[in-house]
Symmetry: C3
Subunit: 153 residues, 3 copies
Amino acid sequence: MKREELIKELGYELPGMSVPAAMYLPIVQTGNLCFVSGQIPTKDGKLAYTGKVGEERTLEDAQAAARICVLNACAALKMQVGDLDKVKRIVKVQAFVATANGFDQQHIVVNAASELLFQIFGEDGRHARTAVGVNQLPMDATIEIELIAEVEA
Amino acid sequence: MKREELIKELGYELPGMSVPAAMYLPIVQTGNLCFVSGQIPTKDGKLAYTGKVGEERTLEDAQAAARICVLNACAALKMQVGDLDKVKRIVKVQAFVATANGFDQQHIVVNAASELLFQIFGEDGRHARTAVGVNQLPMDATIEIELIAEVEA
Amino acid sequence: MKREELIKELGYELPGMSVPAAMYLPIVQTGNLCFVSGQIPTKDGKLAYTGKVGEERTLEDAQAAARICVLNACAALKMQVGDLDKVKRIVKVQAFVATANGFDQQHIVVNAASELLFQIFGEDGRHARTAVGVNQLPMDATIEIELIAEVEA
């Protein structure tokens, strides 16, 4: 099954990609590496999750937000290479979780992103990863996720 | 116009590069990718901006600090490849903004960095980007910016 | 001397590598670049340092924790390429220090990591680096360090 169909099968929707208004891009390719900009949980043009985990947001909220970030990153990859099946490997994920002091389960939050990547890309979706907490993210987003992918040359 | 002249034209000055005293380097090249270490807003050997945005520092202060970080990153690139015109592409920018709880305009702060890169490098300066807030940076710096650039082989 | 022997000579021990239970990996290689996942100061299966610097933890504690992260990253590299002597270059280190508000010596903490990399890898261990503070890390770890290394093709 094509990965884009698989995303639907899993009950998700691959969003369209909106190019940011600022002087940067959602994704840049150099050689066969694609660097995807930090994705926040924007859905249908609105930020779906704001607020910090351990305060306004539950672990489950943050996991849902993490999945939206992954879908947005997939949209950026599709925009760059035309077809998710041309992604050879998810190489590296870096996740920043907006966190109230005292909450230390960022890895559990980010597992939701890792698992969705594995569901979509299979073994090629298994990546190196760094997950940390931060005190604030842009527009009070609950999470921000960037990734590096290897694509067909 | 050469990019180094363009920097002057824009009213800025390309600083000299000071190699850190510790066991790390301002920049490392592997293949045609250059990884620039996190730059803080040091100017003429002094840290020009300390303190958190949303507390001691305004948005405008932080934007000015962001531009200094970009100039320092350019100095590192020049040190590595000899001439900014040998930079083929700014690939990725990662920015950490020292942030008081409640300030969530990190993306607006970092737009100042993105815009300056675009002014200096034109279309080649458009990059993937991640901007986050953190509660503290080294030496109480207001912002720290690292980047990855593709250079001529 | 082989680097693994050098680690013993320096009084440290190269740990075994435990593969995380989640859908991500300790290390992923693409071309001749290895991306090592964020390492926390786990030793003998237990997290050796928790708590924030400037609060529950001293600078010296955090430096000791940073060295453990480096050893764990070396274990990941060995797992990937079989022998630390096949590492051509430590390219980039990114370190997140769990930090109480007001502590701004993250660079001094991370110098311990940079110095150990230099002791193990010599000139090939000199890397680009970013060191920042964050308010919380997974499992209340004191520090988390990821790195990129170039390895023999």
